[in-house]
Each structure stands twice: as structure tokens, then as C-alpha cells.
Chain length 295, copies 2
């Protein structure tokens, strides 16, 4: 296993190189996609994919395109989130948001382009596996895992529930739906996809799925806590997202003390789920550093 | 080989059933995606995928999810195209456009959802192919073909070139780039993907690629011709797209007579490319009916 920063460096060394060449007449598309990828961020999701693959004995280099594809998906969701019709955010990670630099039309196309590039990059990996049924099937499972959790029954469903939550009663059920889908699905997808690429056994896959789900929900609750406590600096650094003004948060439904207690409980549950594995230290430390807010 | 309408009925019998369930809290997402799929249209792209697969001796039923995925991609591109920041169209195929019914935020999410659902639906097909290296590889080629031509070096590059063409000199090169990528790539992708699923040989794949490209470029030039001649009824019926006001069209650069002559030349080239194949009649008639504008 390598360190968080080593995985992160690996991701950042390749990230924009995996974007398609868009041609002379569409160079603005590539520029706008690369702009949002280059703004930075924790790279939590791609790091989790590489670390999960590594922990299960897989090949980290081969997993790198899938890791970068997850970051493409995360980044497209932020670009579209920031649009005037959505959260209408002018800034993202201390820099002008994509549509403030390239205009709304290009920001819509850059988001579409990044989501499509993720699917394209993933699908491309199978072309080198002709004749290898086992690796082709491992690829197929990872590809489906990522697209399903990113999609209309996953992250986009969570986004929809969040965007439309103002019209609904804020219930514990709705809050958990948003946490699970808007946030946890795109934390769970890279962990499971990394494990699938490494051909991990079903028991290990299940334990790490529990870890990833609890980490993801904790991540969203921390976001809600920081939103209320207003630590903008930490918030920007930790989550790379602007404060969520949503009425439908754990804090708003259950209260601040309950939220902090739930954050602690989820972190413990995440750590416990994987404690028996040889490489659990990396993942336990990551969960703890998230709870301490120093990541 | 079946008739155009038989393939079309097959597509329409399954199209919305392939959408993911979005859950109680995101039912609006599914509604908005289904609304735009149900508005109708020629279904040219999915029909081409099924017909190409059929012509090469493949299994049409197995190809149906891929065909529907292509229609998801076409539909998402229309939803995003119609947004106020893009073409700002209130109507699509005689009905209110997606954002006029569901609002801009939901239209953005519905477009994202349809694109993601296409990749998800395609990737799901491989899960039934464990152990079958040949079919897994045929799937992988078809999946990559669709995502590549739909993407940032394909359709989205063409869209970008079109959207930004007002700032550029309208040259023959730029016009051909837009025709090839904005339009022909999403005609070529289903033809090639259908052939790949049927494991067609390289020569047949190449000939049908020529057919599909010429058909796609002809399709865009016809759009430009109808745009100027203002046959709104035919335009709506044929292309399912609103008139393109773009300065960068074949008609504007080369003139109306040259455009009509090029349309004729391309149709001939399309037909010639595949004339030696047993099932060429279906494809030749489709190209002719397009030129006669009665499709």
C-alpha cells in the first residue's frame, strides 16, 4: 500500500491526459474540461479506487484510468451543480466556477463531455483484454458499478432529491436518501470498482462496501455540520464543495449534537467493518482524519 | 431483415422500460427522462443499430438495449440543446421542451440522467456474458464505439464547434467538422456498434462505416436545406429538430444548388458503398427516402 498523497500524485500525473482530443474546432471544450479538473481537490474518490484495488492485491497502474474516470464524474457533477439554474455558485475551490469562465453553454457541454469521457475512458480499457474472459468480466463489473452508482438510481437520484427537497417535508428518510445517493454512492463506487478489478472475493467486497457507505454518509453529515458551523476554510479544503443551504440535512432534522454523535458512530462502523484485513490501517486512518477534519 | 417500422416498434416497446428506477424521492427525474423519450421521433439511430446487427447476422433481441441506449444519448443531447443557455427552444416535436415542463434544473439533470443511463444500460449487458471471451470483447468494442462517437471527440465536439461557430469564419472545413461530428458520428456509431455486436468482418464494417458517414452528412445537409426553404412541417417530421439558424452550414458556405447536388452525391456514395451486400436494399431505400424527404 502507498500513502494517500502517493495515490493522489499518481492520479494528478495522468488526469487531464486521459481527456479525448477534441480537435481544432472544439479546443474550447477540452480547455473547459481541463480547467475544472485542474482546479484541484482532495481526489478522495480516485484515491479510494486505487487503494481498494491495491488492498485486494490488484494492479494499481491498470486501475488508474478507472480512478481518473471517477474524478471526471465527480467534476462534471460540480460543474452542473454550479450552474445558475442549479446552485448558482460563482466560485468553486477559490476560483471562478466553470460557467463564470467559459459561459453557461460551454459549462453544460463541459459537464456532458466529462461524464461521456468517463464512460469512454472506462470502455476503452477493455479493448486491451481480447481473449481474457476473466479480466473482461472483472472490467465489466467495475464499469457497471461505476455507471450505476453515478446514475439515475444513484448520484443523480440523490441530486434530484436534494434539488426538489424544498417542496417536501424534511424527514429522516429523505435525509438518508440524499446522503446515500448524492454522496455515498460516489464514495462506494470507486471502492467496489477497485475491488472488482482486483477480483476480490465476495466477503471482502461486502465488508469494504459497508466501510465505503459509512464513510460516504459520514462525509455528507460532516458537510452539513461544517455548513452550520460555518468553517469556510475547512469546508473548502475538506469537501471541495460550497456550503449546502439545503433544508434537508441531518443537522436540520436531528440537531447538531445528534449529527456529531452520528458522525462518530459511522466512523466507528466504517473502521470496524474492515478491521480484520491486513491493509485496514490506510482506510481506518482515512476515516479518522475525515472525522478530525484534517483532510 | 425486418422493415423500418418493425424495428422502430421494437425500440418503442422497450425504450422507457430500460430507464433505471429512480426511487420515491427522485420520481421527477424518471418522469422528465421518460417525457422526452416519449415525445417521439423517427428513432433512426436505434433502428440503424438493429438493422446493422441484423444485416450482419447478429441477434436483434440482444442488440435492443444498445439501440435504446443510442436513443437515450440522442434524446439527452436534444434536452440540453434546448436549454435557454443553448438554443433556447420552447418547443420540440410540437410539444413543450423538457425545461418548459420540468424547469431548467430538472432538464439539466434529465439530460445527465439519460447520458448516464445509456452507459449504465450498455455496461449492464456484459454482466450476462461471464466466461464468454468472444461475446465480452464484441460487447466491449460496441460499448467503446458508442461512447467515443457520442463524446468529446465526437458529437459533443461537433456541438461545441457549432455553438462557438459565430466567433469563427465559416469555412468548408468547419462545416464538414460540424457535419461529421455533430450529426454523422451519432449515425455512424449505431451502424458500427450493431455490426460489432454481430461480429461482422472488417471489410463489411468498413463499407457500412462509409455508408453511415455519408448518410449522416447528407442528413445534416438536408437539415440545412430545409432550414432555408422553411418547410417546417417536413423539418419537424424528418429530423425532429428545430431549424438551425447557424451561420456555419453547407448551404451558407457553398450555396443552395451545391447543397442539393452534394446531398445527391452523398446519397449515391452511401448506396454504392454497400451495394454488394445481400441486405443492402433496406439501407439503400432508407438513404433514398431520406433524400426524397418522405421519412
Amino acid at each position: 500500500m502507498r500513502s494517500f498523497d502517493e495515490y493522489k500524485e499518481l492520479v494528478e500525473s495522468k488526469l487531464t491526459s486521459y481527456l479525448p482530443e477534441c480537435g481544432e474546432y472544439a479546443s474550447l471544450l477540452r480547455d473547459s474540461m481541463a480547467y475544472s479538473l485542474d482546479v484541484g481537490g482532495k481526489r478522495l474518490r480516485p484515491v479510494l479506487l486505487l487503494a481498494a484495488c491495491d488492498a485486494a492485491g490488484g494492479n494499481v497502474e491498470n486501475a488508474l484510468p478507472y480512478a481518473c474516470a471517477i474524478e471526471f464524474i465527480h467534476t462534471y457533477s460540480l460543474i452542473h451543480d454550479d450552474l445558475p439554474a442549479m446552485d448558482d455558485d460563482d466560485m468553486r475551490r477559490g476560483k471562478p466556477s466553470n460557467h463564470r469562465v467559459y459561459g453557461e453553454a460551454m459549462a453544460i457541454l463541459a459537464g456532458d463531455g466529462l461524464l461521456n469521457s468517463a464512460a469512454e475512458l472506462i470502455s476503452e480499457q477493455a479493448l486491451a483484454l481480447e481473449g481474457d474472459a476473466d479480466s473482461l468480466f472483472a472490467h465489466a463489473r467495475a464499469a457497471h458499478e461505476i455507471m450505476k452508482r453515478a446514475g439515475a438510481s444513484g448520484m443523480i437520484a440523490g441530486q434530484t432529491a436534494d434539488v426538489t427537497s424544498e417542496d417536501k417535508e424534511a424527514t429522516a428518510d429523505l435525509v438518508r436518501f440524499i446522503e446515500n445517493h448524492k454522496t455515498a454512492d460516489l464514495i462506494t463506487a470507486p471502492v467496489r470498482a477497485g475491488m472488482m478489478l482486483a477480483k476480490a472475493d465476495a466477503a471482502m467486497l461486502e465488508d469494504f462496501t459497508t466501510y465505503a457507505n459509512r464513510l460516504g454518509v459520514a462525509f455528507q453529515i460532516l458537510d452539513d455540520i461544517l455548513d452550520v458551523e460555518g468553517d469556510d476554510k475547512l469546508l473548502g479544503k475538506t469537501l471541495g464543495k460550497d456550503a449546502d443551504q439545503g433544508k434537508c440535512s441531518y443537522v436540520n432534522v436531528h440537531g447538531m449534537e445528534a449529527a456529531k454523535s452520528e458522525l462518530h458512530r459511522l466512523t466507528d462502523e466504517a473502521k470496524t467493518a474492515i478491521s480484520k484485513y491486513e491493509n485496514s490501517k490506510f482506510f481506518a486512518e482515512l476515516a479518522e482524519s475525515l472525522e478530525r477534519r484534517d483532510h
